[in-house]
């Protein structure tokens, strides 16, 4: 943070304009220093860094404005900068940019806010993964969101241009699903709901009526007649008799609808198996993989416009803090599989030797992200280090430690009475509060514990651990 004023003096705010119209940059009516390029290559050849730059793209005079915007968003130097447009923007351009330049009151202020956020984002660290890039981008550009664009050639019928340009690994679909599962993004507005083939997740489906007996496509409607004289119901062709209608059953002449006969219902006949039926079966046939499914079996997918969630904003500011937990891996660490195996073994041992006592403690450090956010990365990391040191002092050499899901630290305490487990859990809980004393936060995380008395014989290690996890949520 201390570096910020220094940078500001070093690099002035500027606007880079892409247009083929002469004097277009001067006509924008901004007092910021601006330079105009006619093509992307001109900018790429200049060696200047673009940390405090805003772009304006003239959509009307450039031959391929969309290609240019994509190139900017993919370039490691400029992808985080503000890009405004001038002229009629299509949905894809809108999804990749910060909106029309005319709607911006004070571009200088906007560039300043954005670059300020970019400096503090990710805990001040450079972005390491595509997640970091996307979250930082969304956080530093308050007017941007993950906007879906309708595209007939996309497998799911909609695609997210921003994901497409920032993608480094995986597919956009899996990436988005991961972001949703980790609750980093949340739906802001439901744009559409599409149905996908459960076999291949393609949205290109063809709905056809088929025969309910043999699934044949070859069905046709056939009008049926109902003779009032004898009640006979049959297809109309059987009634046709030399230019008149007469009942094939009772030979009555059917002269007037409603008086001699009527049409009971529209029915269908299968050309394959001659089955007569009222309503055909509907099948959804996937045009990608060729599978046919019942319409009820299709996967419904809500297509949303996504924005950063509360958790996403936090991660954008602090960066990936997974590595900070690594300090706990130095305390009697065993891998989670081994930990579970030992725990299971201990539970089995108790079945033979009832005098055996032991305990399980779960440290859930769910407050860490907030700590980093408030104190900054450096101070936060130091705080976690000192916390880990103090935990190490409390742990006996025979205790086993493991870590699951980044922020859940497990302690298996052999040969410990229920009172002993309570005491240790109490100390750890106090430690959670003490370590953040003097800051605006109340605690680093929560402690959950269970002694062997609380574990039934029917439970195995996985069940007990799952029980504690469910209490922590």
């Amino acid at each position: 943070m201390a570096e910020q004023p220094e940078q500001q003096t070093r690099e002035p705010l500027r606007i880079v304009v892409f247009s083929r119209r002469a004097g277009f940059a001067d006509g924008l009516g901004t007092n910021l220093p601006s330079q105009q390029h006619a093509a992307y290559e001109e900018l790429a050849s200049t060696p200047e860094s673009g940390a405090r730059t805003g772009f304006v793209v003239d959509l009307e005079s450039l031959p391929e404005p969309l290609e240019l915007i994509r190139a900017l968003r993919q370039h490691p130097e400029w992808r985080m900068q503000l890009i405004w447009t001038r002229g009629d923007a299509g949905p894809e351009s809108r999804a990749l940019t910060d909106g029309a330049f005319e709607t911006v009151d004070n571009p200088g202020e906007r560039i300043e806010t954005c670059s300020g956020r970019l400096l503090t984002a990710n805990g001040g660290q450079p972005a390491r993964s595509q997640d970091d890039v996307l979250l930082t981008l969304l956080w530093s550009h308050p007017h941007m969101s993950l906007q879906p664009v309708r595209d007939w050639s996309a497998p799911e019928l909609y695609r997210y241009p921003l994901l497409d340009v920032l993608l480094e690994e995986d597919t956009p679909e899996f990436w988005l699903r991961g972001l949703k599962q980790r609750r980093l993004v949340e739906g802001q507005e439901l744009v559409d709901r599409v149905r996908l083939c459960p076999g291949c997740r393609h949205g290109h489906l063809s709905f056809v009526d088929v025969c309910p007996e043999c699934d044949s496509l070859d069905i046709r409607t056939e009008p049926g007649l109902h003779c009032f004289s004898c009640g006979h119901v049959a297809p109309q062709r059987l009634f046709q008799d030399n230019g008149m209608l007469s009942c094939p059953n009772c030979h009555a002449t059917l002269r007037h609808i409603g008086e001699d006969y009527d049409r009971p219902l529209e029915n269908h006949v299968c050309g394959g198996c001659q089955h007569m039926f009222m309503e055909g079966r509907v099948l959804a046939r996937c045009m990608a993989c060729g599978q046919a499914h019942d319409p009820d079996a299709l996967e419904a997918l809500g297509v949303y416009r996504y924005r950063l969630s509360e958790a996403g904003r936090l991660v954008a500011r602090t960066g990936d803090i997974g590595d900070l937990y690594g300090v706990f891996d130095e305390i009697n660490y065993v891998s989670p599989e081994h930990f579970e195996f030992f725990f299971d073994w201990t539970l089995k041992l108790r079945e033979r030797h009832e005098e055996i006592r032991f305990g399980l403690i779960l440290l859930h450090l769910n407050g860490l992200a907030r700590v980093i956010d408030t104190l900054g990365h450096g101070r936060g990391a130091a705080l976690v280090d000192s916390f880990a040191e103090r935990v190490k002092a409390l742990v006996r050499t025979t205790d086993l430690v493991t870590r699951t899901a980044d922020d859940r630290i497990w302690l298996l305490l052999p040969q410990t009475s229920a009172d002993g487990v309570d005491v240790l859990a109490g100390r750890l809980s106090r430690l959670m509060e003490d370590s953040v004393e003097g800051t605006a936060l109340d605690r680093l995380g929560r402690v959950y514990h269970e002694s062997s008395i609380g574990m039934s014989e029917a439970e195995d290690a996985a069940a007990v651990m799952a029980r504690l996890v469910s209490r922590s949520q």
Binding site: T221, Q240, N242, M244, L245, L254, R255, H256, I257, G258
Partner: protein
């Protein structure tokens, strides 16, 4: 009480002495010439015609010609509401293999939204029928039936034109039977037969059902054989579209159907081959008035219009040069003598009888005359039942009305006179409910 009994005894005595020279019989003889010279020849002609039709039909080789021109059906709708659905559906149901274009013209569409919406709601149903098409024409200002027909004529694309009422439905072979006649290029129109759809309602509708059976179903078969169709009913007429266009469509005024028939007939003098056919197997079913008031008003209109057409509007048409000899003869005999002069003669004769002769004799004469008419009716009825009827079971259920029918017919005759006088003095055809007054006042008087 004894007076009444004595009265009846005297009647029986007179009737018993029928074959002796009595006063009553002499009177009855005076009346019989009417029957012999006016009615019997007509009936004889009908019988001969029916016989000719029947023999022609049973010896005909069953042939189906590949002649299926496009047919346009103009349905004139007004305040029928959901009732029009039956008419449209019966047109959709036609087994005719050619195309049928149904033009439903709703007159005064703003006042009749129920009719319009009922028609609009039928559009998906029409989709299910191949080669059937429904065009709904909402005509916002009310202009009467003639304006609806002419609007439909403008849009018609069929070679054959059907003009039908929205309260009439049809047997599904109707178009096949009617359209077949137009194979003959000399046939310019076909009249279809009509039955009473609501015959089950009450005595009045049953009487009308019997009347339709004898005077339309049977009589027109007979007259049709001698090219003597005098009117193509407005409820159900089939025309060659080109011919209707040539004579300029329908004209303003009451009784547009009779008017059109007479104007078509005016070509018969120039084209002696032209004829109007009658097809008893082209069957329409229509609603007739179920109340005496409605019935009497309808007949007041019909008979008044007949007088108006023959005596006023188309008086000049009855010339050999215009219509040809045969049509003038039939028009004078059947149209004027039978339907206009007969009622006058019968009523005058009855009045004279009542004034001049003792009541006993009057009643006895009446019984004899009614008996004669009943016998005539029964013969006609049996002819229709045996040779023409396609629904014998239903027609048999009207048989018990035959002895009463002459009284109904007598009433009709008297009422005809009222209608003629009404038209003569009051120009009642100007008061028709078929078109608004601002249209009617422009028609020829």
């Amino acid at each position: 009480m004894t007076g009444v009994l004595e009265f009846l005894a005297q009647i029986v005595e007179i009737l018993g002495g029928l074959f002796h020279e009595t006063n009553a019989l002499a009177l009855a003889y005076m009346f019989i010439p009417f029957v012999v010279f006016l009615e019997l020849p007509l009936n004889l002609m009908i019988w001969l015609g029916v016989l000719r039709y029947y023999t022609r039909r049973i010896y005909a080789v069953p042939t189906r010609y590949p002649y299926t021109p496009r047919v346009t059906c103009i349905i004139t709708c007004y305040s029928e509401g959901g009732g029009v659905r039956g008419t449209v559906r019966s047109m959709l149901e036609q087994v005719y293999p050619g195309q049928i274009e149904i033009i439903a013209v709703v007159d005064g569409a703003d006042q009749n939204p129920a009719t319009l919406s009922a028609l609009r709601a039928m559009e998906p149903e029409v989709e299910r029928y191949a080669s059937r098409k429904l065009v709904v024409v909402p005509k916002t200002p009310r202009g009467g039936r003639v304006s609806s027909l002419n609007a439909g004529l403008q849009m018609a694309r069929g070679e054959i034109l059907l003009a039908v009422d929205a309260d009439t439905s049809f047997d599904n072979t109707m178009v096949t039977e009617a359209a077949g006649h137009f194979r003959d290029p000399n046939v310019i129109a076909v009249a279809g037969s009509l039955r009473v759809r609501n015959w089950h309602d009450n005595l009045l509708t049953r009487f009308q059902a019997l009347e339709y059976m004898i005077t339309i179903h049977l009589a027109k078969v007979g007259l049709g054989e001698f090219h003597g169709i005098n009117n193509i009913s407005g409820a159900f007429g089939v025309f060659r579209t080109e011919m209707v266009r040539k004579i300029g469509g329908w004209t303003t005024g009451s009784a547009e159907d009779l008017d059109l028939t007479l104007r078509l007939k005016q070509y018969f003098g120039r084209y002696p081959g032209f004829r109007i056919a009658f097809e008893p197997r082209a069957m329409g079913h229509t609603d007739c008035p179920a109340t005496w008031k409605g019935f009497l008003l309808q007949r007041l209109r019909w008979d008044g219009d007949l007088f108006y057409m023959y005596m006023r509007k188309h008086r000049a048409a009855f010339s050999v040069r215009q219509m040809g000899f045969w049509n003038v003869l039939l028009g004078l005999w059947y149209g004027m003598l039978f339907q206009m002069i007969m009622p006058v003669l019968i009523v005058l004769y009855t009045l004279w009888l009542v004034v001049m002769v003792a009541p006993v004799v009057v009643v006895a004469t009446f019984i004899i005359i009614m008996g004669l008419y009943a016998v005539l009716t029964a013969l006609m009825y049996i002819t229709a039942l045996v040779f023409i009827s396609e629904r014998r079971g239903r027609d048999l259920r009207l048989a018990w009305l035959i002895p009463l029918f002459p009284f109904f017919a007598m009433l009709m005759r008297v009422w005809s006179l009222v209608a003629i006088i009404n038209e003569w003095w009051r120009h009642s055809s100007q008061e028709s409910s078929m078109a608004p007054w601002w249209v009617l006042r422009k028609s020829k008087r």
